[in-house]
Subunit: 349 residues, 2 copies
């Protein structure tokens, strides 16, 4: 579908590197007053006055992180930005800029890259971040996307992974496991389609989980909500590799233990249904599924009244002394060690 067989499409070679970058970024507006100079010089220039600056970077590789047979390029562009903004929000900071570099083979026509950048632009618009730089180069194979996200916040607002203290409560935003189950559905439909290309997939009943996989939203609103509620978490991390892995990161960096309660883990009914359909345990999916891009954070007990009953937040456990270990308390009230089986980019590849 994406191969450059349609002769009416524009080949990348016709534009050259500078022409390509100019063409792809010409519709991007500058919205942040911290952006002094965006694309077009040796480097972008930013100005944050007294705020601290936070920077995070991610590399997405075709065939490893995404499969273009069912991921539309526009969604991919959007998601690639989300993945990075999520790390900035996990610092309790305001995301303000991104740089986007792509390596792309000539099998992609210009129109494919326009779709990708349309998604990137939509993400920039929705989240008010500026595209301030990047690099476009050829690749012998496939598509590689590298994004660096930049944000800022006052020093006292920035939240590390390392600040969780004994008796703090562990809280997650949203619900977990949907993105992973969305991926399972898409993979199944791909297999069905391969067997019978006339088979049109009906994804209606999977709409929530498929959208969570294809078009996740970073939780900027959670950072804003916490500010409005006057809650500064003691530690925070985004849930990209599954809840277990992230809980263990907070515990390791904060030198604490914890209890997580299985019956408290927030699941969407669609996730529960699809897990039954696939005969997979939904707790396992929430713990190890990955790509949820929700926020996991710890708060002091005195902040509990501020978030109590808020539909955006679920208290899933609490922090213990390091010596008590990190455990899941199951529905059957047994205590089992939390293990990171999260998605691992290098595992088995």
């Amino acid at each position: 579908m994406l191969e450059d067989k349609d002769q009416s499409r524009t080949s990348l070679g016709e534009l050259g590197e500078f022409g390509l970058i100019e063409h792809l970024t010409k519709n991007f507006a500058v919205r942040q007053d911290t952006t002094v100079l965006g694309v077009g010089d040796d480097a972008a220039i930013l100005e944050f006055s007294k705020d601290q600056v936070v920077i995070s970077t991610d590399l997405l590789v075709e065939g490893v992180h995404f499969d273009l047979s069912y991921v539309p390029l526009k969604h991919l562009g959007y998601k690639a930005v989300m993945v990075n903004l999520s790390d900035i929000y996990a610092m309790n900071a305001i995301a303000s800029q991104v740089t986007v570099s792509i390596a792309v083979s000539n099998r992609f026509p210009l129109e494919a890259l326009e779709d990708l950048y349309e998604g990137i632009n939509a993400a920039c618009k929705n989240y008010k971040v500026d595209l301030v730089g990047g690099d476009t180069t050829s690749s012998n194979v496939g598509l590689v996307i590298s994004i660096t996200a930049i944000g800022h916040a006052a020093k006292e607002d920035i939240v590390h992974r390392s600040g969780a203290k004994e008796n703090d409560l562990l809280v997650v935003s949203g619900d977990l496991g949907a993105a992973y189950m969305g991926l399972q559905v898409l993979e199944r439909e791909k297999a069905v389609f391969k067997a019978n290309p006339n088979n049109q997939p009906d994804l209606e009943q999977y709409s929530y989980i498929v959208e969570r996989q294809l078009k996740p939203e970073a939780r900027k609103d959670v950072v804003e909500l916490l500010k409005a509620l006057e809650v500064v978490p003691t530690a925070m991390i985004d849930i990209s590799d599954g809840l277990s892995s992230e809980v263990l990161h907070i515990c390791k960096n904060s030198k604490v233990g914890c209890h997580v309660y299985e019956d408290k883990i927030p699941l969407d009914p669609q996730v529960i249904n699809v897990c039954e359909e696939f005969t997979i345990d939904s707790t396992t999916i929430a713990l190890s599924g990955g790509e949820d891009y929700e926020l996991l954070f710890s708060i002091t007990q005195k902040d509990y009244p501020k978030i109590k009953g808020n539909p955006n937040f679920t208290v899933i456990g609490h922090i213990l002394p390091e010596g008590d270990g990190k455990h899941l308390i199951t529905r059957a009230n047994t205590t089992i060690p939390l293990i990171s089986r999260g998605w691992n980019a290098l595992e088995g590849s």
Copy 2:
């Protein structure tokens, strides 16, 4: 040579993603007081007080930007950092941090990545920059390196491409064309080696140009020297795609024209000799060769006495009104238009 056939080597799968990043970055020291927090959280935290922040990013792809059959991984790591720092120095700023992301196939043993990171670490040490983040992921094919460099400077010190004014002088640091000719020699030796693997290359007489190709140095010293001489260029750019291309960038962004004098273009004697050996015109190489990572800048005439006679600098031309066009004045005193035929990552690939 790099394939993982030696069973005594360590496969990447054994370490997993987090273990790999921790292992590769454990020898990296933090040297900059602008680095508040480096590797190990969702994002790095930096603090620049009143300085403006400059950010640049580059993507290097195996088979496009480098050929591992003659580029040692340690040199590659070093060069990848240089390429990015060069952009920061081209803003007349101090480079302070880098993030490094790599996508790598399992054909690379751990020891190969250790070599790569040894080169990255050497660059960080020599240039006093901190590695503050990155991402390591698998790749179906080859090696991809994505680096983002961060720097800072007082607002009044930052130099854009757009500030060149009529009558300013055009100045370059160092000499040009060596990196490109080094590449030609390496490509020739590769062809010879393929034809006869017992043939040991003797690169002694090409040492300067081969080193310029394999281990370039970004001109941090030029930024420091300009500061010591109290010269703030009116425009500056680094020479990565050949002199022509960069002169044209400055002229376009500054809305000016220029004259560049062929007989003023600085060439190392080894470049002249090797150009004769390859029967290539040395001016063409200097104008279009690329990868020199020297700095091209414009200064006001009143600053000329400050750089006059300095062996680091060569005045190669001057700025004209835009309507006068951009021309090369040849040794034969003919005037020909400057054309960008620079290395283009998307050309012909």
